[in-house]
Symmetry: C2
Subunit: 362 residues, 2 copies
């Protein structure tokens, strides 16, 4: 390796060129942390690692994801893979696709190939309609398992979850502080546990922060798929009901909501506020930059890997839910409510106003 490159590596790793040379030539007197920094610098800059710096695998771990289209799942995959690699495990990513490989088939393959454990993100355990037996069978086989964003009652495994109730409460508190009352919830399908939790949080927060009745609040909830198109469809239905703000169940749904608002000739956030959920990678670059509720993907990924590695190492697996507090990230898609602007534009609001006007007539 030429000296120019050693200089680049030293700079990237924040160590001296002499240290880089010692690491590359496997000389003694280098701490494990320094060795790791140099290895990361080699990888980031794209140089090949010396053979001795290759990791010895202590086993395979299956990581099951529902899909890779929503950018929150690649974010989980990247962080969990990195954390597993650091502990010496080789991650096997199993991503499902519509019409593709089924979760149970992936699990069977992972069993056939003797994985040391499995981490399952937003799988069938997040679907309240799915049969929980598959997970109890895995535990009977002694397979170390960690579930992320979902839960199976009575199963002795750690569950890592974002606090969905707190998440929607933060969104509603933010929007009501901006003066919004008619806030629509663009939710995903109502079978999913995170959705059920958000519904619960939405009803509670709306009851506390507004004077709307339970029936009025329920009228502001619509269920569509967790996609851009799903968000657009949900927003269209909510705009018909006279909302001035939309809380979406994912950033993708929020992008769809922004599109639907603009399709009516309205502006985000001047006419309608939109808040997302996830804080997906690159979402800060959206137009407008999306206000959203951040899942603590980094802490969740670290905890999932630590919990799994502990069980693989011999700790008893226990039913324990690690709940992570989300954060409100205020960017440019939410603004103070200007109700008049809404009333001019939505049929329902026009209808309500017309009704009100006629009420005023004696």
């Amino acid at each position: 390796m030429v000296r120019a490159r050693q200089r680049d590596i030293a700079q990237a790793a924040g160590v001296s060129e002499a240290t880089v040379s010692r690491v590359l030539n496997d000389h003694p007197g280098v701490s494990e942390a320094t060795r790791q920094s140099v290895m990361v610098a080699l990888d980031v800059l794209g140089f090949e690692r010396p053979t001795y710096l290759r990791r010895k695998s202590v086993g395979l771990v299956g990581l099951i994801l529902p899909e890779l289209t929503n950018p929150i799942f690649p974010a989980f995959a990247q962080l969990i893979s990195t954390a597993l690699a650091r502990r010496g495990f080789i991650p096997i990513l199993c991503t499902q696709t519509a019409g593709g490989v089924h979760e149970d088939d992936y699990v069977q393959q992972l069993l056939d190939h003797g994985v040391a454990g499995m981490i399952n993100i937003s799988g069938l355990h997040a679907d309240s309609d799915s049969k929980p037996g598959r997970y109890f069978r895995l535990r009977e086989l002694g397979m170390p398992l960690v579930l992320v964003n979902g839960a199976i009652d009575g199963l002795d495994v750690p569950t890592i979850a974002n606090d969905d109730v707190a998440a929607i409460e933060m969104a509603i508190a933010h929007l009501t502080e901006l003066g919004h009352v008619r806030i629509g919830l663009a939710a995903g399908p109502d079978r999913f546990i995170p959705v059920i939790r958000k519904l619960w949080g939405f009803r509670g927060a709306m009851a506390r922060h507004t004077s709307l009745s339970r029936a009025e609040i329920d009228d502001l909830i619509v269920h569509e798929l967790f996609t851009v198109d799903g968000g657009a469809a949900a927003a269209a239905r909510l705009l018909d009901r006279g909302v001035t703000a939309i809380a979406a169940a994912s950033d993708l749904m929020a992008l769809g909501a922004v599109r639907a608002v603009r399709a009516r000739g309205l502006r985000v956030p001047q006419d309608v506020s939109v808040i997302g959920y996830d804080d997906s990678p690159l979402i800060a670059f959206s137009d407008p930059p999306l206000t959203t509720i951040r899942q603590n993907v980094t802490a969740m990924s670290e905890t999932a890997v630590n919990s799994l590695v502990e069980i693989i190492g011999g700790s008893d697996s226990r039913a324990k839910e690690f709940t992570f507090r989300p954060e409100l990230v205020v960017r440019g898609s939410t603004a103070p409510c200007v109700v008049q602007a809404r009333e001019r534009h939505t049929p329902r609001a026009r209808g309500l106003r017309a009704a009100k006007v006629s009420d005023e007539r004696p």
Copy 2:
């Protein structure tokens, strides 16, 4: 399954409820295409598949990716996984991370687990400095292999590549039509084959479309990492050199370039045009919506899988490069050049103008 759900599935699959019932109960008289549509609808809507609709695996295929942070890689992973599943193969995703599992270690694991073949995207085969021996050894073992976006001279494997030369030519033709002459290239590290091809294309296109000398053109090329920060750093250096437009080697670099332009108080596209490369998922939602060069990820993924499946099925593996033509996607980050605006803002341009003024003095 209740009737309401059969109706949803029928609607999503575009078939009758009676057909859905026949598929779910494995009755005869249903075409494979219809069965597939119903299965996709089940998956999209999140219902469980009947056991008989599970796929029988014909083998595992390793899919090696450099990372998942750049959204183009999850896009490839999703499409290739789907195409493999449709052919009965279970994909194993191997994603690298800085300081994580090395490509060679993934390959060894895949060999140990008896995969039927491997698809490698932008791996060490894309790095002109890496040793090609690892790929020749794989072929000596008889392992079916397809390489995407990179190439190894003399290796008897199909290579799937975007036409990088055509891509940069499209970008330069678009920008010069808008009146830009001082166009900067924010390129990735110069070891990578796609970068080397883009450099070649850039020099040729700039020589054809402008009257700049070879030295002046070379002065408009900077190399940084393929990241948002890399793009911002490259753009800062290019703005110092008085560019009015920036062609970035990835959409992530383009987002960084937009950020760097704005950090100088300039606007995109009114003051500086920026064009990306990839057409990553969701990039159309960026601010401004990014003009970019689209990689035909769908066709490339299909071809990679078809080529691999043919080799697994017994066809001879041959050195053949499938090159895919990219497309210019014009959105909102490019606009006609207004040189005066540039000259006011960039030190180099100010220097050039000052020099010109002093030349005019006799």
